[in-house]
Symmetry: C2
Subunit: 315 residues, 2 copies
Protein backbone atom coordinates (compact mmCIF):
# COMPACT_ATOMS: atom_id res chain seq x y z
CA UNK A 1 0.00 0.00 0.00
CA UNK A 2 1.28 3.45 0.88
CA UNK A 3 1.79 6.06 -1.78
CA UNK A 4 0.92 3.86 -4.76
CA UNK A 5 -1.39 5.54 -7.23
CA UNK A 6 -4.91 4.22 -7.57
CA UNK A 7 -8.36 5.47 -8.53
CA UNK A 8 -11.64 4.93 -10.29
CA UNK A 9 -13.48 6.47 -13.26
CA UNK A 10 -17.12 5.83 -14.19
CA UNK A 11 -19.67 6.74 -16.84
CA UNK A 12 -23.44 6.46 -17.00
CA UNK A 13 -23.88 6.87 -20.75
CA UNK A 14 -23.31 9.52 -23.41
CA UNK A 15 -25.78 11.18 -25.75
CA UNK A 16 -27.95 14.21 -26.34
CA UNK A 17 -27.97 15.28 -22.71
CA UNK A 18 -28.86 18.96 -22.75
CA UNK A 19 -28.76 21.22 -19.71
CA UNK A 20 -31.85 22.98 -21.04
CA UNK A 21 -33.85 19.75 -20.77
CA UNK A 22 -32.59 18.72 -17.34
CA UNK A 23 -34.43 19.81 -14.19
CA UNK A 24 -32.34 20.67 -11.13
CA UNK A 25 -33.98 17.75 -9.29
CA UNK A 26 -33.11 15.25 -12.01
CA UNK A 27 -29.57 16.55 -12.23
CA UNK A 28 -29.19 16.19 -8.46
CA UNK A 29 -30.43 12.59 -8.66
CA UNK A 30 -27.86 11.73 -11.32
CA UNK A 31 -25.04 13.44 -9.44
CA UNK A 32 -25.99 11.69 -6.23
CA UNK A 33 -26.03 8.24 -7.86
CA UNK A 34 -22.79 8.81 -9.79
CA UNK A 35 -21.18 9.92 -6.53
CA UNK A 36 -22.41 6.80 -4.77
CA UNK A 37 -21.04 4.56 -7.55
CA UNK A 38 -17.65 6.32 -7.41
CA UNK A 39 -17.45 6.04 -3.63
CA UNK A 40 -18.33 2.33 -3.58
CA UNK A 41 -15.61 1.56 -6.14
CA UNK A 42 -13.08 3.92 -4.58
CA UNK A 43 -13.48 2.44 -1.11
CA UNK A 44 -12.48 -0.96 -2.48
CA UNK A 45 -9.23 0.16 -4.10
CA UNK A 46 -8.49 2.60 -1.25
CA UNK A 47 -8.52 -0.34 1.18
CA UNK A 48 -6.15 -2.32 -1.03
CA UNK A 49 -8.83 -4.31 -2.88
CA UNK A 50 -8.67 -5.37 -6.52
CA UNK A 51 -9.48 -3.04 -9.41
CA UNK A 52 -11.75 -5.68 -10.90
CA UNK A 53 -13.87 -5.80 -7.73
CA UNK A 54 -14.04 -2.02 -7.67
CA UNK A 55 -15.30 -1.78 -11.27
CA UNK A 56 -17.87 -4.51 -10.69
CA UNK A 57 -19.21 -2.86 -7.53
CA UNK A 58 -19.35 0.59 -9.13
CA UNK A 59 -21.27 -0.77 -12.14
CA UNK A 60 -23.68 -2.67 -9.87
CA UNK A 61 -24.70 0.59 -8.16
CA UNK A 62 -25.70 2.02 -11.54
CA UNK A 63 -27.40 -1.23 -12.64
CA UNK A 64 -29.52 -1.08 -9.49
CA UNK A 65 -30.71 2.44 -10.28
CA UNK A 66 -33.57 3.21 -12.70
CA UNK A 67 -31.66 6.28 -13.93
CA UNK A 68 -29.33 4.47 -16.31
CA UNK A 69 -29.88 2.17 -19.29
CA UNK A 70 -28.50 -0.96 -17.63
CA UNK A 71 -29.93 -3.40 -15.12
CA UNK A 72 -33.13 -2.02 -13.58
CA UNK A 73 -33.30 0.92 -15.99
CA UNK A 74 -32.74 -1.09 -19.17
CA UNK A 75 -34.74 0.04 -22.21
CA UNK A 76 -37.29 -2.16 -23.96
CA UNK A 77 -36.73 -4.07 -27.19
CA UNK A 78 -39.32 -4.05 -29.96
CA UNK A 79 -40.98 -7.06 -28.31
CA UNK A 80 -41.25 -5.23 -24.98
CA UNK A 81 -38.44 -7.25 -23.42
CA UNK A 82 -35.16 -6.20 -21.89
CA UNK A 83 -32.04 -7.67 -23.44
CA UNK A 84 -28.86 -6.80 -21.65
CA UNK A 85 -25.14 -7.07 -22.37
CA UNK A 86 -22.17 -6.82 -20.04
CA UNK A 87 -18.41 -7.39 -20.03
CA UNK A 88 -15.65 -7.32 -17.42
CA UNK A 89 -11.89 -7.62 -17.99
CA UNK A 90 -8.88 -7.99 -15.73
CA UNK A 91 -5.84 -6.13 -17.03
CA UNK A 92 -3.38 -8.28 -15.11
CA UNK A 93 -4.36 -11.68 -16.53
CA UNK A 94 -6.28 -10.44 -19.59
CA UNK A 95 -9.06 -12.75 -18.45
CA UNK A 96 -12.52 -11.52 -19.31
CA UNK A 97 -16.15 -12.56 -19.12
CA UNK A 98 -19.17 -11.29 -21.01
CA UNK A 99 -22.86 -11.96 -21.56
CA UNK A 100 -25.06 -10.89 -24.46
CA UNK A 101 -28.82 -10.70 -24.80
CA UNK A 102 -29.75 -11.88 -21.30
CA UNK A 103 -33.32 -11.09 -20.27
CA UNK A 104 -33.81 -12.11 -16.68
CA UNK A 105 -30.54 -11.37 -14.90
CA UNK A 106 -30.78 -8.73 -12.17
CA UNK A 107 -27.13 -7.69 -12.46
CA UNK A 108 -25.59 -8.62 -15.81
CA UNK A 109 -22.16 -7.45 -14.62
CA UNK A 110 -22.20 -10.12 -11.91
CA UNK A 111 -22.97 -12.78 -14.49
CA UNK A 112 -20.13 -11.48 -16.68
CA UNK A 113 -17.79 -11.81 -13.69
CA UNK A 114 -19.03 -15.36 -13.10
CA UNK A 115 -18.32 -16.23 -16.74
CA UNK A 116 -14.81 -14.87 -16.28
CA UNK A 117 -14.21 -16.79 -13.04
CA UNK A 118 -16.05 -20.06 -13.67
CA UNK A 119 -16.08 -20.70 -17.40
CA UNK A 120 -13.37 -21.34 -19.96
CA UNK A 121 -15.42 -19.27 -22.37
CA UNK A 122 -15.51 -15.50 -22.63
CA UNK A 123 -18.87 -14.69 -24.19
CA UNK A 124 -22.13 -16.49 -23.41
CA UNK A 125 -25.40 -15.48 -25.03
CA UNK A 126 -29.16 -15.58 -24.52
CA UNK A 127 -30.82 -18.58 -22.90
CA UNK A 128 -27.52 -20.45 -22.72
CA UNK A 129 -26.06 -17.67 -20.59
CA UNK A 130 -29.15 -17.81 -18.36
CA UNK A 131 -28.77 -21.58 -17.95
CA UNK A 132 -25.18 -20.97 -16.86
CA UNK A 133 -26.44 -18.32 -14.41
CA UNK A 134 -29.01 -20.70 -12.96
CA UNK A 135 -26.38 -23.39 -12.45
CA UNK A 136 -24.33 -20.96 -10.40
CA UNK A 137 -27.16 -19.44 -8.39
CA UNK A 138 -27.04 -15.92 -9.86
CA UNK A 139 -30.01 -13.72 -8.93
CA UNK A 140 -32.78 -13.56 -11.51
CA UNK A 141 -35.35 -10.79 -11.85
CA UNK A 142 -38.70 -10.97 -13.59
CA UNK A 143 -40.13 -8.52 -16.11
CA UNK A 144 -41.81 -6.40 -13.43
CA UNK A 145 -38.45 -5.57 -11.90
CA UNK A 146 -37.22 -4.06 -15.15
CA UNK A 147 -40.47 -2.23 -15.87
CA UNK A 148 -40.10 1.53 -15.54
CA UNK A 149 -42.79 3.83 -16.85
CA UNK A 150 -40.18 6.10 -18.44
CA UNK A 151 -38.68 3.30 -20.57
CA UNK A 152 -42.08 1.93 -21.55
CA UNK A 153 -43.15 5.37 -22.78
CA UNK A 154 -39.93 5.52 -24.81
CA UNK A 155 -40.80 2.26 -26.51
CA UNK A 156 -44.35 3.44 -27.25
CA UNK A 157 -43.01 6.70 -28.65
CA UNK A 158 -40.46 4.84 -30.78
CA UNK A 159 -43.10 2.52 -32.21
CA UNK A 160 -45.42 5.46 -32.94
CA UNK A 161 -42.61 7.33 -34.66
CA UNK A 162 -41.84 4.23 -36.70
CA UNK A 163 -45.47 3.95 -37.81
CA UNK A 164 -45.63 7.60 -38.81
CA UNK A 165 -42.30 7.77 -40.63
CA UNK A 166 -42.28 4.16 -41.85
CA UNK A 167 -38.61 4.15 -40.91
CA UNK A 168 -36.85 2.00 -38.39
CA UNK A 169 -36.93 4.18 -35.31
CA UNK A 170 -34.29 2.16 -33.51
CA UNK A 171 -31.99 3.50 -36.19
CA UNK A 172 -33.18 7.07 -36.11
CA UNK A 173 -33.09 7.96 -32.48
CA UNK A 174 -29.79 9.22 -31.21
CA UNK A 175 -31.02 10.41 -27.84
CA UNK A 176 -29.22 9.54 -24.65
CA UNK A 177 -31.68 6.74 -24.04
CA UNK A 178 -30.31 4.88 -27.01
CA UNK A 179 -26.72 5.39 -25.99
CA UNK A 180 -27.19 4.54 -22.36
CA UNK A 181 -24.57 2.23 -21.00
CA UNK A 182 -22.73 2.27 -17.71
CA UNK A 183 -19.10 1.51 -17.07
CA UNK A 184 -16.20 1.75 -14.69
CA UNK A 185 -12.41 1.49 -14.97
CA UNK A 186 -10.03 1.32 -12.05
CA UNK A 187 -6.38 1.12 -11.00
CA UNK A 188 -5.59 -0.58 -7.71
CA UNK A 189 -2.64 -0.23 -5.34
CA UNK A 190 -1.08 -3.39 -6.80
CA UNK A 191 -0.88 -1.61 -10.16
CA UNK A 192 -3.62 -3.70 -11.75
CA UNK A 193 -6.15 -2.25 -14.15
CA UNK A 194 -9.71 -3.43 -14.85
CA UNK A 195 -12.76 -2.42 -16.87
CA UNK A 196 -16.47 -3.22 -16.56
CA UNK A 197 -19.35 -2.22 -18.83
CA UNK A 198 -23.09 -2.97 -18.75
CA UNK A 199 -25.76 -1.96 -21.23
CA UNK A 200 -29.51 -2.24 -21.54
CA UNK A 201 -29.25 -1.97 -25.30
CA UNK A 202 -31.30 0.12 -27.68
CA UNK A 203 -34.97 1.16 -27.38
CA UNK A 204 -37.10 -0.76 -29.89
CA UNK A 205 -34.19 -2.91 -31.04
CA UNK A 206 -34.93 -5.99 -33.14
CA UNK A 207 -33.41 -9.14 -34.52
CA UNK A 208 -31.23 -10.01 -31.54
CA UNK A 209 -28.91 -7.10 -32.27
CA UNK A 210 -25.75 -7.16 -30.19
CA UNK A 211 -23.82 -3.98 -29.52
CA UNK A 212 -20.26 -3.24 -28.50
CA UNK A 213 -20.68 -3.59 -24.72
CA UNK A 214 -20.16 -7.39 -24.53
CA UNK A 215 -17.27 -7.32 -26.97
CA UNK A 216 -13.72 -7.29 -25.64
CA UNK A 217 -11.77 -4.57 -27.48
CA UNK A 218 -14.89 -2.77 -28.71
CA UNK A 219 -16.80 -1.54 -25.65
CA UNK A 220 -14.51 -2.79 -22.88
CA UNK A 221 -10.79 -3.53 -22.52
CA UNK A 222 -8.11 -3.64 -19.83
CA UNK A 223 -4.39 -4.40 -20.06
CA UNK A 224 -1.80 -3.64 -17.38
CA UNK A 225 0.70 -2.73 -20.11
CA UNK A 226 -1.41 0.24 -21.13
CA UNK A 227 -4.84 1.17 -19.83
CA UNK A 228 -8.42 0.22 -18.98
CA UNK A 229 -11.27 1.55 -21.14
CA UNK A 230 -15.09 1.48 -21.08
CA UNK A 231 -17.04 2.95 -23.98
CA UNK A 232 -20.55 4.30 -24.45
CA UNK A 233 -22.15 5.35 -27.67
CA UNK A 234 -23.54 4.15 -30.97
CA UNK A 235 -22.37 0.55 -30.63
CA UNK A 236 -21.97 -0.26 -34.31
CA UNK A 237 -19.33 2.44 -34.69
CA UNK A 238 -17.55 1.28 -31.56
CA UNK A 239 -17.36 -2.22 -33.06
CA UNK A 240 -16.08 -0.92 -36.40
CA UNK A 241 -13.42 1.27 -34.80
CA UNK A 242 -12.46 -1.38 -32.19
CA UNK A 243 -12.54 1.63 -29.85
CA UNK A 244 -11.34 0.24 -26.53
CA UNK A 245 -8.44 -1.80 -27.88
CA UNK A 246 -7.47 1.03 -30.20
CA UNK A 247 -6.74 3.33 -27.25
CA UNK A 248 -4.42 0.62 -25.89
CA UNK A 249 -2.78 0.00 -29.29
CA UNK A 250 -2.09 3.72 -29.82
CA UNK A 251 -0.35 3.85 -26.43
CA UNK A 252 1.61 0.62 -26.91
CA UNK A 253 2.56 0.94 -30.57
CA UNK A 254 2.73 4.70 -31.11
CA UNK A 255 3.78 5.78 -27.64
CA UNK A 256 0.86 8.18 -27.22
CA UNK A 257 -0.21 9.24 -23.74
CA UNK A 258 -3.59 8.04 -22.45
CA UNK A 259 -5.15 11.44 -23.09
CA UNK A 260 -3.72 11.66 -26.61
CA UNK A 261 -4.84 8.15 -27.49
CA UNK A 262 -8.33 8.55 -26.02
CA UNK A 263 -8.81 11.90 -27.75
CA UNK A 264 -7.62 10.57 -31.10
CA UNK A 265 -10.01 7.62 -30.94
CA UNK A 266 -13.09 9.67 -29.98
CA UNK A 267 -12.50 12.97 -31.78
CA UNK A 268 -10.71 11.75 -34.91
CA UNK A 269 -11.26 8.06 -35.58
CA UNK A 270 -14.80 7.54 -34.23
CA UNK A 271 -15.99 10.98 -35.33
CA UNK A 272 -14.39 10.40 -38.75
CA UNK A 273 -16.66 7.41 -39.24
CA UNK A 274 -19.68 9.45 -38.16
CA UNK A 275 -19.86 7.68 -34.82
CA UNK A 276 -21.06 9.35 -31.63
CA UNK A 277 -20.21 8.53 -28.04
CA UNK A 278 -17.47 8.69 -25.48
CA UNK A 279 -15.21 6.65 -23.26
CA UNK A 280 -13.60 6.64 -19.85
CA UNK A 281 -10.05 5.42 -19.34
CA UNK A 282 -7.33 5.16 -16.72
CA UNK A 283 -3.70 4.15 -17.20
CA UNK A 284 -1.21 2.44 -14.92
CA UNK A 285 0.09 5.80 -13.68
CA UNK A 286 -3.37 6.88 -12.62
CA UNK A 287 -3.92 9.30 -15.50
CA UNK A 288 -7.57 9.71 -16.43
CA UNK A 289 -9.33 10.53 -19.73
CA UNK A 290 -13.07 11.05 -20.32
CA UNK A 291 -13.53 12.31 -23.92
CA UNK A 292 -16.92 12.33 -25.69
CA UNK A 293 -18.23 13.86 -28.90
CA UNK A 294 -21.90 14.07 -27.87
CA UNK A 295 -23.75 16.82 -26.01
CA UNK A 296 -23.09 15.19 -22.70
CA UNK A 297 -21.81 12.16 -20.84
CA UNK A 298 -22.61 11.18 -17.27
CA UNK A 299 -19.13 10.75 -15.84
CA UNK A 300 -16.91 11.04 -12.83
CA UNK A 301 -13.64 10.07 -11.22
CA UNK A 302 -12.18 9.84 -7.77
CA UNK A 303 -8.45 9.88 -7.09
CA UNK A 304 -6.55 9.93 -3.79
CA UNK A 305 -6.27 13.33 -2.19
CA UNK A 306 -8.76 14.86 -4.61
CA UNK A 307 -12.44 15.74 -4.46
CA UNK A 308 -14.79 13.57 -6.54
CA UNK A 309 -15.20 14.93 -10.08
CA UNK A 310 -18.79 14.49 -11.31
CA UNK A 311 -19.81 16.02 -14.63
CA UNK A 312 -22.71 15.68 -17.04
CA UNK A 313 -22.54 18.36 -19.73
CA UNK A 314 -19.70 19.81 -21.76
CA UNK A 315 -17.69 21.98 -19.40
CA UNK B 1 -7.90 -3.16 -64.71
CA UNK B 2 -4.59 -3.95 -66.30
CA UNK B 3 -1.54 -4.69 -64.20
CA UNK B 4 -3.09 -3.87 -60.85
CA UNK B 5 -2.31 -6.40 -58.18
CA UNK B 6 -5.10 -8.60 -56.90
CA UNK B 7 -5.55 -12.03 -55.37
CA UNK B 8 -7.25 -14.26 -52.85
CA UNK B 9 -6.21 -16.25 -49.77
CA UNK B 10 -8.34 -18.84 -47.98
CA UNK B 11 -8.28 -21.14 -44.97
CA UNK B 12 -10.35 -24.13 -43.93
CA UNK B 13 -9.38 -24.26 -40.26
CA UNK B 14 -6.27 -24.85 -38.15
CA UNK B 15 -5.57 -27.52 -35.55
CA UNK B 16 -3.99 -30.87 -34.87
CA UNK B 17 -3.91 -31.88 -38.50
CA UNK B 18 -1.25 -34.59 -38.73
CA UNK B 19 0.02 -36.07 -41.96
CA UNK B 20 0.24 -39.43 -40.20
CA UNK B 21 -3.52 -39.42 -39.61
CA UNK B 22 -4.53 -38.26 -43.07
CA UNK B 23 -5.25 -40.77 -45.84
CA UNK B 24 -4.18 -39.83 -49.38
CA UNK B 25 -7.85 -39.94 -50.42
CA UNK B 26 -8.91 -37.53 -47.67
CA UNK B 27 -6.02 -35.22 -48.43
CA UNK B 28 -6.96 -35.18 -52.10
CA UNK B 29 -10.54 -34.30 -51.19
CA UNK B 30 -9.39 -31.36 -49.09
CA UNK B 31 -6.98 -30.14 -51.75
CA UNK B 32 -9.64 -30.38 -54.41
CA UNK B 33 -12.19 -28.39 -52.41
CA UNK B 34 -9.66 -25.75 -51.34
CA UNK B 35 -8.66 -25.38 -54.99
CA UNK B 36 -12.29 -24.97 -56.02
CA UNK B 37 -12.86 -22.30 -53.37
CA UNK B 38 -9.74 -20.41 -54.48
CA UNK B 39 -10.72 -20.55 -58.12
CA UNK B 40 -14.27 -19.32 -57.53
CA UNK B 41 -12.98 -16.33 -55.57
CA UNK B 42 -10.10 -15.65 -57.94
CA UNK B 43 -12.32 -15.62 -61.00
CA UNK B 44 -14.36 -12.81 -59.48
CA UNK B 45 -11.44 -10.48 -58.78
CA UNK B 46 -9.68 -11.50 -61.99
CA UNK B 47 -12.70 -10.27 -63.97
CA UNK B 48 -12.67 -6.97 -62.10
CA UNK B 49 -15.25 -7.92 -59.49
CA UNK B 50 -15.25 -6.78 -55.88
CA UNK B 51 -13.06 -8.33 -53.20
CA UNK B 52 -16.06 -8.63 -50.92
CA UNK B 53 -17.93 -10.73 -53.49
CA UNK B 54 -14.87 -12.92 -53.98
CA UNK B 55 -14.49 -13.64 -50.26
CA UNK B 56 -18.18 -14.42 -49.90
CA UNK B 57 -18.17 -16.81 -52.86
CA UNK B 58 -14.99 -18.58 -51.72
CA UNK B 59 -16.41 -19.08 -48.22
CA UNK B 60 -19.70 -20.37 -49.63
CA UNK B 61 -17.86 -23.17 -51.46
CA UNK B 62 -16.40 -24.35 -48.15
CA UNK B 63 -19.72 -23.90 -46.30
CA UNK B 64 -21.37 -26.15 -48.88
CA UNK B 65 -18.83 -28.94 -48.29
CA UNK B 66 -19.07 -31.44 -45.41
CA UNK B 67 -15.27 -31.30 -45.04
CA UNK B 68 -15.09 -28.08 -43.04
CA UNK B 69 -16.62 -26.95 -39.76
CA UNK B 70 -18.92 -24.35 -41.28
CA UNK B 71 -22.24 -24.57 -43.09
CA UNK B 72 -23.04 -28.17 -43.99
CA UNK B 73 -20.11 -29.60 -42.02
CA UNK B 74 -20.80 -27.64 -38.81
CA UNK B 75 -20.16 -29.54 -35.58
CA UNK B 76 -22.87 -30.29 -33.03
CA UNK B 77 -23.46 -28.40 -29.80
CA UNK B 78 -24.10 -30.23 -26.54
CA UNK B 79 -27.82 -30.23 -27.36
CA UNK B 80 -27.17 -31.84 -30.74
CA UNK B 81 -27.82 -28.62 -32.64
CA UNK B 82 -25.67 -26.63 -35.00
CA UNK B 83 -25.01 -23.04 -34.02
CA UNK B 84 -23.10 -21.05 -36.57
CA UNK B 85 -21.33 -17.71 -36.66
CA UNK B 86 -20.16 -15.63 -39.61
CA UNK B 87 -18.77 -12.18 -40.39
CA UNK B 88 -17.92 -10.23 -43.53
CA UNK B 89 -16.18 -6.85 -43.78
CA UNK B 90 -15.49 -4.40 -46.60
CA UNK B 91 -12.11 -2.68 -46.25
CA UNK B 92 -13.13 0.28 -48.39
CA UNK B 93 -16.15 1.44 -46.39
CA UNK B 94 -15.38 -0.45 -43.15
CA UNK B 95 -18.96 -1.69 -43.33
CA UNK B 96 -19.46 -5.13 -41.89
CA UNK B 97 -22.18 -7.65 -41.13
CA UNK B 98 -22.20 -10.63 -38.79
CA UNK B 99 -24.47 -13.29 -37.35
CA UNK B 100 -24.02 -15.34 -34.19
CA UNK B 101 -25.66 -18.54 -33.04
CA UNK B 102 -27.88 -19.14 -36.08
CA UNK B 103 -29.24 -22.69 -36.36
CA UNK B 104 -31.13 -23.00 -39.61
CA UNK B 105 -29.28 -20.86 -42.14
CA UNK B 106 -27.80 -22.80 -45.05
CA UNK B 107 -25.06 -20.26 -45.73
CA UNK B 108 -24.33 -18.07 -42.72
CA UNK B 109 -21.90 -15.96 -44.76
CA UNK B 110 -24.76 -14.91 -47.05
CA UNK B 111 -26.80 -13.83 -44.06
CA UNK B 112 -23.81 -11.87 -42.74
CA UNK B 113 -23.59 -10.10 -46.10
CA UNK B 114 -27.31 -9.33 -45.96
CA UNK B 115 -26.87 -7.82 -42.48
CA UNK B 116 -24.08 -5.68 -43.90
CA UNK B 117 -26.11 -4.54 -46.89
CA UNK B 118 -29.64 -4.25 -45.49
CA UNK B 119 -29.36 -3.50 -41.79
CA UNK B 120 -27.98 -0.56 -39.85
CA UNK B 121 -26.71 -3.07 -37.33
CA UNK B 122 -23.53 -5.13 -37.51
CA UNK B 123 -24.18 -8.18 -35.36
CA UNK B 124 -27.50 -10.05 -35.16
CA UNK B 125 -27.90 -13.12 -32.99
CA UNK B 126 -29.99 -16.26 -32.61
CA UNK B 127 -33.67 -16.28 -33.44
CA UNK B 128 -33.63 -12.56 -34.12
CA UNK B 129 -31.06 -13.07 -36.86
CA UNK B 130 -33.20 -15.85 -38.31
CA UNK B 131 -36.28 -13.58 -38.30
CA UNK B 132 -34.23 -11.05 -40.24
CA UNK B 133 -33.19 -13.81 -42.66
CA UNK B 134 -36.80 -14.87 -43.18
CA UNK B 135 -37.85 -11.30 -43.93
CA UNK B 136 -35.24 -11.13 -46.67
CA UNK B 137 -35.83 -14.56 -48.18
CA UNK B 138 -32.50 -16.16 -47.24
CA UNK B 139 -32.34 -19.93 -47.73
CA UNK B 140 -33.01 -22.01 -44.64
CA UNK B 141 -31.89 -25.59 -44.08
CA UNK B 142 -33.31 -28.08 -41.63
CA UNK B 143 -31.39 -30.25 -39.17
CA UNK B 144 -31.05 -33.15 -41.63
CA UNK B 145 -29.02 -30.97 -43.99
CA UNK B 146 -26.42 -30.31 -41.31
CA UNK B 147 -26.33 -33.93 -40.11
CA UNK B 148 -23.06 -35.64 -41.00
CA UNK B 149 -22.17 -38.95 -39.41
CA UNK B 150 -18.62 -37.76 -38.75
CA UNK B 151 -19.73 -34.75 -36.69
CA UNK B 152 -22.36 -36.78 -34.81
CA UNK B 153 -19.73 -39.32 -33.81
CA UNK B 154 -17.54 -36.47 -32.60
CA UNK B 155 -20.31 -35.24 -30.35
CA UNK B 156 -20.92 -38.75 -28.97
CA UNK B 157 -17.20 -39.18 -28.35
CA UNK B 158 -17.00 -35.80 -26.64
CA UNK B 159 -19.92 -36.60 -24.35
CA UNK B 160 -18.45 -39.99 -23.49
CA UNK B 161 -15.11 -38.40 -22.71
CA UNK B 162 -16.84 -35.86 -20.53
CA UNK B 163 -18.61 -38.60 -18.58
CA UNK B 164 -15.41 -40.55 -18.07
CA UNK B 165 -13.19 -37.65 -17.10
CA UNK B 166 -15.92 -35.57 -15.44
CA UNK B 167 -14.34 -32.60 -17.19
CA UNK B 168 -15.82 -30.31 -19.75
CA UNK B 169 -14.74 -31.90 -23.00
CA UNK B 170 -15.54 -28.85 -25.07
CA UNK B 171 -12.67 -27.30 -23.16
CA UNK B 172 -10.26 -30.20 -23.38
CA UNK B 173 -10.30 -31.09 -27.01
CA UNK B 174 -7.92 -29.17 -29.17
CA UNK B 175 -8.36 -31.23 -32.30
CA UNK B 176 -8.93 -29.63 -35.66
CA UNK B 177 -12.63 -30.30 -35.30
CA UNK B 178 -12.78 -27.81 -32.52
CA UNK B 179 -10.84 -25.20 -34.38
CA UNK B 180 -12.62 -25.59 -37.65
CA UNK B 181 -13.53 -22.34 -39.28
CA UNK B 182 -13.33 -21.22 -42.88
CA UNK B 183 -12.32 -17.86 -44.21
CA UNK B 184 -11.19 -15.85 -47.20
CA UNK B 185 -9.47 -12.51 -47.73
CA UNK B 186 -9.08 -10.78 -51.07
CA UNK B 187 -7.67 -7.76 -52.85
CA UNK B 188 -9.43 -6.58 -55.99
CA UNK B 189 -8.21 -4.60 -59.00
CA UNK B 190 -9.75 -1.43 -57.55
CA UNK B 191 -7.41 -1.79 -54.57
CA UNK B 192 -10.17 -2.77 -52.16
CA UNK B 193 -9.67 -5.37 -49.45
CA UNK B 194 -12.29 -7.63 -47.84
CA UNK B 195 -12.49 -10.48 -45.33
CA UNK B 196 -15.09 -13.19 -44.70
CA UNK B 197 -15.18 -15.86 -41.98
CA UNK B 198 -17.68 -18.61 -41.14
CA UNK B 199 -17.60 -21.07 -38.28
CA UNK B 200 -19.63 -24.03 -37.09
CA UNK B 201 -18.41 -23.48 -33.54
CA UNK B 202 -17.13 -26.02 -31.05
CA UNK B 203 -18.17 -29.67 -30.67
CA UNK B 204 -20.26 -30.12 -27.52
CA UNK B 205 -20.36 -26.39 -26.79
CA UNK B 206 -22.84 -25.14 -24.20
CA UNK B 207 -24.46 -22.04 -22.82
CA UNK B 208 -24.77 -20.12 -26.08
CA UNK B 209 -21.01 -19.63 -26.24
CA UNK B 210 -19.95 -17.20 -28.96
CA UNK B 211 -16.46 -17.36 -30.45
CA UNK B 212 -14.31 -14.88 -32.32
CA UNK B 213 -15.66 -15.52 -35.82
CA UNK B 214 -18.62 -13.09 -35.66
CA UNK B 215 -16.59 -10.39 -33.96
CA UNK B 216 -15.09 -7.61 -36.04
CA UNK B 217 -11.44 -7.19 -35.04
CA UNK B 218 -11.21 -10.60 -33.36
CA UNK B 219 -11.81 -13.24 -36.06
CA UNK B 220 -12.32 -10.99 -39.08
CA UNK B 221 -11.18 -7.54 -40.17
CA UNK B 222 -10.54 -5.56 -43.35
CA UNK B 223 -9.28 -2.03 -43.86
CA UNK B 224 -7.95 -0.58 -47.13
CA UNK B 225 -5.33 1.38 -45.15
CA UNK B 226 -3.66 -1.83 -44.07
CA UNK B 227 -4.88 -5.39 -44.68
CA UNK B 228 -7.65 -7.98 -44.58
CA UNK B 229 -7.48 -10.81 -42.03
CA UNK B 230 -9.44 -13.98 -41.23
CA UNK B 231 -8.53 -16.05 -38.17
CA UNK B 232 -9.06 -19.64 -37.11
CA UNK B 233 -8.24 -21.14 -33.77
CA UNK B 234 -9.20 -21.25 -30.12
CA UNK B 235 -11.72 -18.41 -30.25
CA UNK B 236 -11.37 -17.17 -26.68
CA UNK B 237 -7.71 -16.35 -27.24
CA UNK B 238 -8.49 -14.62 -30.53
CA UNK B 239 -11.00 -12.43 -28.68
CA UNK B 240 -8.53 -11.63 -25.89
CA UNK B 241 -5.73 -10.78 -28.32
CA UNK B 242 -8.05 -8.87 -30.72
CA UNK B 243 -6.10 -10.82 -33.33
CA UNK B 244 -7.41 -9.50 -36.65
CA UNK B 245 -7.37 -5.82 -35.73
CA UNK B 246 -3.99 -6.23 -34.06
CA UNK B 247 -2.36 -7.20 -37.36
CA UNK B 248 -3.77 -4.00 -38.85
CA UNK B 249 -2.72 -1.86 -35.86
CA UNK B 250 0.87 -3.19 -35.96
CA UNK B 251 1.07 -2.22 -39.64
CA UNK B 252 -0.55 1.19 -39.21
CA UNK B 253 1.01 2.28 -35.92
CA UNK B 254 4.38 0.48 -35.89
CA UNK B 255 5.03 0.37 -39.63
CA UNK B 256 5.49 -3.42 -39.69
CA UNK B 257 5.07 -5.31 -42.94
CA UNK B 258 2.09 -7.66 -43.30
CA UNK B 259 4.30 -10.70 -42.73
CA UNK B 260 5.98 -9.18 -39.68
CA UNK B 261 2.68 -8.12 -38.16
CA UNK B 262 0.95 -11.46 -38.84
CA UNK B 263 3.90 -13.42 -37.46
CA UNK B 264 4.13 -11.30 -34.34
CA UNK B 265 0.44 -11.75 -33.60
CA UNK B 266 0.39 -15.55 -34.09
CA UNK B 267 3.87 -16.59 -32.90
CA UNK B 268 4.42 -14.05 -30.12
CA UNK B 269 1.22 -12.45 -28.88
CA UNK B 270 -1.27 -15.32 -29.34
CA UNK B 271 1.25 -18.00 -28.42
CA UNK B 272 2.33 -15.93 -25.41
CA UNK B 273 -1.20 -16.17 -24.05
CA UNK B 274 -1.24 -19.93 -24.68
CA UNK B 275 -3.56 -19.56 -27.65
CA UNK B 276 -3.47 -21.85 -30.68
CA UNK B 277 -4.53 -21.14 -34.24
CA UNK B 278 -3.60 -19.25 -37.34
CA UNK B 279 -4.68 -16.56 -39.73
CA UNK B 280 -4.64 -15.62 -43.38
CA UNK B 281 -4.02 -12.07 -44.53
CA UNK B 282 -3.47 -9.98 -47.63
CA UNK B 283 -2.42 -6.34 -47.84
CA UNK B 284 -3.11 -3.63 -50.38
CA UNK B 285 0.07 -4.47 -52.29
CA UNK B 286 -0.98 -8.09 -52.69
CA UNK B 287 1.42 -9.47 -50.08
CA UNK B 288 0.16 -12.64 -48.43
CA UNK B 289 0.70 -14.14 -44.94
CA UNK B 290 -0.59 -17.47 -43.61
CA UNK B 291 1.05 -18.07 -40.18
CA UNK B 292 -0.23 -20.71 -37.72
CA UNK B 293 1.12 -22.22 -34.50
CA UNK B 294 -0.78 -25.53 -34.72
CA UNK B 295 0.21 -28.78 -36.45
CA UNK B 296 -1.56 -27.76 -39.60
CA UNK B 297 -3.89 -25.32 -41.29
CA UNK B 298 -5.91 -25.91 -44.45
CA UNK B 299 -4.86 -22.95 -46.53
CA UNK B 300 -4.19 -21.61 -49.99
CA UNK B 301 -3.74 -18.57 -52.14
CA UNK B 302 -3.98 -17.64 -55.77
CA UNK B 303 -2.24 -14.62 -57.26
CA UNK B 304 -1.99 -13.46 -60.90
CA UNK B 305 0.64 -15.24 -62.93
CA UNK B 306 1.23 -17.84 -60.23
CA UNK B 307 0.11 -21.39 -59.63
CA UNK B 308 -2.41 -21.97 -56.84
CA UNK B 309 -0.69 -22.59 -53.51
CA UNK B 310 -2.56 -25.22 -51.46
CA UNK B 311 -1.04 -26.47 -48.20
CA UNK B 312 -2.25 -28.41 -45.19
CA UNK B 313 0.69 -29.37 -42.97
CA UNK B 314 3.77 -27.51 -41.81
CA UNK B 315 6.06 -27.24 -44.80
Amino acid sequence: MGDKKFGIVIHGGAGTILKSKMTPEKEAEYRQKLGESLQVGYDIVEKGGAAIDATQAAVKVMEDSPLFNAGKGAVFTHEGLNEQDACIMDGKTLNSGAVAGVRRIKNPIELARLVMDKSEHILLSGEGAEAFAQMHGIEFAEAEYFYTEHRWKQLRAAKYQEKVTKADYSQLDHSDDKHGTVGAVALDRQGNLAAATSSGGMTNKKFGRLGDSPIVGAGNYANNRTCAVSGTGHGEYFITAVVSYDVSALMEYKGLSLQQAANMVIYEKLAGLGGTGGLIAIDRDGNVAMPFNTEGMYRGNLLPGQKPVIEIFKE
